[in-house]
Subunit: 460 residues, 2 copies
């Protein structure tokens, strides 16, 4: 269905005025189309990876721009096809004129993600790497950047290839039996087979489990700040945000996140969500506020519980924490207003709260222990991530494919238990393999490719 | 004052997410700074105008991005210095990280227009060409684009060089007399000198006069649509705009002008300004509206007067036109509502209006003669521009310098008339030369350069 015989063109740099803009052409006629309008050199005779200065003229000989054209010959290009990158003055008018000229000369406007789609179809990258290109461009923190970079450079693909190999080896054993089916031989001991499937499932499950962290890193860790009214939640929010804002604005021209409550700690993005105070609602409207707070807590990945160390009793704090506590969500309890020197009282909380979660004494007002709190927030995210270099799944499509693959392996186990015939077991294994293959694109459909690449921008 | 020994760095493409972004470094250490963080090849050993794929890693060995670095060795580069263009993924986060890394490795963030300033200081282009780069990027129509392109390629510079040569030849004659000052000789006949100065002034004045058109093309031709209430002004405005809008939106992603009333005819931009109806104000508020209309008419470069051919008498039309008529501003009178077939009446206008300006019969409703009106609008702009290929001045700084140069030549003429000594005449000639030299930058001060390049973007 995908036509690779035509030559596509699109602006590769962001829209708008700038010193330069880059227009990219890819396809069999990329170089000859450029040559047709370029004056300065014969581009057809130039080596790959060389840049050439000259003018582009339209059909009437009018100079559209002075440009620099860099040539990449197949297969040594992003798409694996002949590619020309036309670096022109960064004027929207000139860019429009140049693209229209290239279209008149035989190029076609590229569809969304079509350059990367061609790179995939030409075997320059697999599907998970192609998806990582979009993630990489959209990444706004060091951790999401590193994760996308690792995926783009084949980290996820390697992991999947490893799993597939294990499964293929397993399938080989079963299918060998199939060949001798009528003789009713068993080459593989059923217990050993079961162990092998479980080992593979262990690997798949580790990847499935990594999605929670991977996705949180990609989207930012949803972190709710909860506590009674006047506990100092907003002061703490400001204390947490202040320093980071200064860093963000250090480099002029950086796109700032419009979400004001975004905090970056050691390269991990936290989305801080302030809430209304928790207390027993005395009227209807207040009850709505409390319900909303509880909803936000339900959706959060991390919880900061703030309390006024002077005004609150250990029992009240324990009661609050019991109310908001959820499985799988870490709670950081912050004993605030330590600037009032309530050290003796603060100690009384420790024994009460220790079993419920972590406790940090702090003064949001004086910035006391705010840095420490950040460190603890960061550590909470890393918890459960044994190896910092291990592969994380951050793509919902991969997550679903892994789950389906795992379910098929459950069917394999059931089949082994029930002693069903090898051909049914082999079918379940192939199904499991298919789901894994969809991640890297060894198995792909036009619908799948459309749904992936239509989310890209034009020019990617 | 300008330090050319350091290496500057900036993003050259527009801010935002895109498939790629290009970071530019220029200066003696551009290549070695890139080499320091680039893994793949030894960039120092590569030829000029070659592109190299590899990874950029930070001090901890972390991969910041996969990039393509193109090398330009001095003097064969935009700035005339060693230049590296780093083409990276178009992610604001990656771009920030890369620029910070280059700065840590010894580059300095470029100031506004500093790349182009260096190109000027290194003799790659003169000042009027450097200014044209900014005009070119900002141009939004074919005519403003062509004007800036011509200036960038040296059109204005050639014209000024020609004027300077004429003046230098003239000065040579005068200064020859100076050498023989005490002998009281006159090598040049005073009448011949006067003729020569007047000839040069004629050339300068042609350039000064071209500013009106040049600036209008650059900024768009301010065109007021005036007429009595219900003459069909807004219908005409819509009829004029309709078709053009469709053309503008043909190419997706083109930045659209936010000024809704912009019309492009054959590549010239018209800024259409609708006005309240002209009539004798019956109350105070209406009087304000009429006064505002008259103000807009005062500021316009072109006037479309619309009248209802059925409801208006030739006398009323003649009265209106007398009211709004201004020297130097063309009026196009549009006899509207011709769809009502009032042909006999329409003829009665011709004799009345012919002495006052042009008359065009039209129906805004049926789109009758709207195309013809556009053609007439376009022709009005070209009027007085004898030669389409002649140089136009579009830069207010050049315009002022030319005027000052011309005034100095007036002083020369006065001096000749009053028979003052050659050394005073020579002084006036040198002053005239200085003003011309400021246009191309043969004469420049730091203040002048600052005021010019501070209007550029960073990265240009």
């Amino acid at each position: 269905m995908y036509d690779l015989t035509d030559t596509i063109v699109a602006l590769a740099t962001p829209n708008g005025e700038g010193a330069i803009g880059v227009i990219r052409l890819s396809g069999g006629k990329a170089i000859s189309i450029c040559d047709d309008v370029f004056f300065g050199k014969n581009l057809g005779k130039q080596d790959t990876h060389t840049a050439h200065f000259g003018t582009v003229r339209d059909e009437e000989g009018r100079i559209v721009d002075e440009v620099l054209i860099t040539i990449f010959k197949n297969p040594k290009s992003y798409t694996g096809e002949d590619v020309c990158e036309v670096s022109c003055h960064g004027s929207p008018f000139i860019i429009k004129e140049l693209i229209q000229l290239f279209v008149r000369k035989g190029a076609r406007l590229a569809r969304k993600g079509e350059f990367t789609l061609r790179a995939f179809l030409n075997g320059k990258m697999d599907l998970s790497q192609a998806e990582a290109v979009a993630d990489l461009i959209a990444s706004h923190s060091e951790s999401s950047h590193d994760m996308a970079m690792k995926q783009m450079r084949g980290g996820v693909s390697d992991e999947i290839a490893h799993l597939r190999q294990e499964l293929i080896d397993f399938a080989a054993l079963i299918e060998l039996e199939l060949d001798f089916g009528e003789e009713d031989v068993e080459f593989a001991d059923r217990t050993a087979l079961r162990n092998l499937v479980q080992k593979i499932q262990g690997l798949i499950r580790a990847l499935i489990d990594s999605f929670r962290l991977g996705n949180a890193i990609k989207e930012g860790i949803s972190t709710v700040i909860a506590g009674r009214p006047n506990a100092g939640k907003s002061t703490l929010l400001n204390a947490l945000l202040n320093e980071d804002r200064a860093i963000v604005s250090e480099i002029a021209g950086t796109t700032r996140d419009t979400i004001e409550e975004t905090l970056n700690i050691n390269g991990v993005t936290f989305r801080l969500i302030d809430t209304a105070g928790i207390r027993d609602a005395s009227d209807k409207i207040e009850a709505i506020g409390v319900r909303k707070t509880m909803e936000k807590i339900q959706q959060s990945a991390l919880l900061i519980y703030v309390f006024d160390v002077v005004e609150t009793s250990p029992e009240e704090v324990a009661e609050d924490i019991r109310k908001i506590k959820r499985d799988e969500v870490s709670i950081l309890a912050v004993a605030n207003k330590m600037d009032l020197n309530p050290y003796t009282k603060a100690e009384s909380f420790v024994s009460e709260l220790l079993p419920l979660g972590q406790i940090i004494t702090a003064s949001a007002l004086n910035n006391m222990n705010v840095e420490y709190l950040k460190e603890r927030l960061y550590q909470s995210v890393l918890e459960g991530k044994a190896d910092a270099s291990s592969t994380l799944i951050s793509n919902a499509r991969h997550y679903e494919a892994l789950q389906k693959s795992n379910e098929s392996l459950n069917d394999v186990l059931t089949g082994l238990d029930q002693g069903i015939t090898q051909d049914f077991i082999a079918m379940d294994i192939r199904r499991s393999l298919t789901f894994l293959g969809e991640i890297t694109g060894e198995i792909s459909t036009d619908d799948l490719l459309d749904s992936i690449f239509s989310r890209f921008c034009i020019g990617k």
